[in-house]
Amino acid sequence: MSREISRITTLFRKAGLQEINVPSLLTASDLVDLYGEDLKLRAYTTSDPVKGEQVLRPDFTLPILLEHMRGKSPQAKYFYSGNVWRRQNFKSIIPNEQYQMGFEFFDNKKNNSLLLDVESYLLITKILSKYKVNSVTGDVQILTSAIDELGMTEYKKASLKRHLWRPKRFLRLLELYSKQKATGASIRSFKSETLLPWKEKLRETQTVYGVRTKADIKERIDILEQELSQNLITNSERSFLLKLMRFQSNLKEAAKSMLSLSLVGGTFGQAIENFETRVGLLSEHIDTKKVKFQVIYGLTTLEYYDGFVFGFQFERRNYPPIAQGGRYDSLCSKISKRGKSISAVGSMLRMDFLEKFHS
């Protein structure tokens, strides 16, 4: 494997990337804060009465992002090489300790995003050019922008968007928003025409404790009550969304077919335009007809990606994707403070499976 590591290292250096080292032991609260408690189902946690709970690095992305935020320069192209540790379930063929190489590109200029998307995809293509691989791409942005164009309240759009990564919940919400009145609400327990009884009950409440105040509860009841009388999703909108979620084709023809699904413009049109530009840039280097495209590719497995995503798979081998990556701007904005907004795209390579391929 060391030969592959040095070959890839050379390719990274030639591409102008700079090596970055991050610790293997990370502070749990930093990660839980961003990923949520489910991190602890994937990562190995340790107890330390002095430093607090520590976690074995489950990926490179977050520690590199944190390291980058501490620095001054908004732009950077890093590459990394090392172990990550993740719990796997009984059937998984991915080792608990895996060797990964990869890169992360950071930038503060929005209009560089497409170029960097293309650059990262091509870099992986180049690294894997000596192998027979298939690649699949996806674009979460297309889905979120489609939701933005629906004729419903911001509250409902926001709930739909935040559940995109959880397909079961998303479909359930879509159902609820599609039904007519009475039961047509996001919250199952809230079936009445009016929430007056709730308001009265709240007014009578004497004992209050914890950080959530009566005002907080009243605010939410008001929002829910407003939602009762607001537009629900129409049948044509609903079927458009479902079609979009099932959509797949080759990369070259995807844009045209997606536009034919609906006449909605606005941000959806903008997302498709960006998508077309990206495909155009890629076409200068590769045959985009041979690249698969699936709108929701990686939605459930690539945890924090929210734009262009991609994965590479060996032909005729039952391996997990050998390389995966994509854009994760919203994760960046979650931790960027003081208006220091950055965007990012990155990818990792599963070195253990490259080695397995050779043996």
Binding site: V32, D33, G36, E37, D38, K40, L41, F90, S159, R162, H163, R166, K168, R169, S186, I187, R188, S189, F190, W198, K201, L202, T205, T207, V208, Y209, G210, V211, R212, K214, D216, I217, R220, I221, L224
Partner: protein, 228 residues
């Protein structure tokens, strides 16, 4: 000799004693009453080991006990993927208790797990910290909520008197055992729709490897015939 682990104190101990008594297996204390030693009055070939109900799962897994009676909640919580080492031989009709989410009664707008999920999502931006859940059932809680796709929360470990955690400001929500709901009510908490994590009761558990090897053992068969 079969090593049988039984709860050493509390209501579960009394219920287990009654269970055996009804099956003609009377338990008697050996030595002074404070010592954790007991035996069957008429059945001397079974070694009784009294220990805390929450320690029984791990001792079965380790093979220090061949058989044990304890709450399912404890097996689920203490041994992740317990089915790999432990077999549930028979579910018993006592020790009933549900593991439930308890939220403050005055959260009038929170009546369903979906409500809690929505609150949790906006909690950080509103209160500048994660929603905190106090429980001694960390593993069950984490697996349950993530399975239900609720992810924006932080578990605060709490051993005992969990219900008080909210009033004491340690957490916002609790997960605890509730058999009648009385303790929840006393602490001004309520249960919510879809907020039951586990329906628990006592069961007979056996070490899988032991059972595979000794499943035909006459002594074991005789005991199990009486119990099952």
């Amino acid at each position: 000799m079969i090593r049988l682990g039984l709860p050493s104190k509390g209501r579960l101990k009394k219920q287990v004693e009654k269970f055996f008594f009804e099956r003609d297996l009377e338990l008697v204390n050996v030595g002074r009453s404070r010592e954790y030693l007991a035996e069957f009055k008429k059945e001397k070939k079974i070694k009784i080991i009294l220990l805390s109900a929450s320690d029984i799962p791990l001792e079965i897994k380790r093979g220090n006990l061949d058989i044990g009676i304890t709450g399912r909640d404890l097996v689920f919580e203490k041994i992740l993927g317990w089915q790999k080492w432990i077999l549930e031989l028979k579910q018993l009709d006592f020790g009933n208790a549900d593991l439930v989410l308890g939220v403050p009664q005055f959260w009038i707008d929170v009546n369903h797990l979906d409500d809690l999920d929505e609150i949790a999502f906006f909690f950080r931006s509103k209160h500048s910290r994660c929603l905190k859940i106090a429980t001694k059932y960390q593993n069950i809680t984490r697996e349950f909520l993530i399975d239900k796709q609720v992810t924006n929360f932080e578990i605060v470990e709490s051993q005992g008197a969990t219900e008080g955690a909210i009033i004491n400001g340690i957490a916002d929500v609790v997960v605890d055992i509730s058999s009648t709901g009385e303790t929840l009510r006393q602490n001004k908490l309520k249960t919510i729709d879809k907020g039951t994590l586990l329906r628990s009761f006592a069961s007979i558990f056996v070490n899988k490897r032991y059972y595979k090897k000794k499943g035909d053992d006459l002594e074991l068969k005789r005991l199990l015939d009486k119990l099952i």
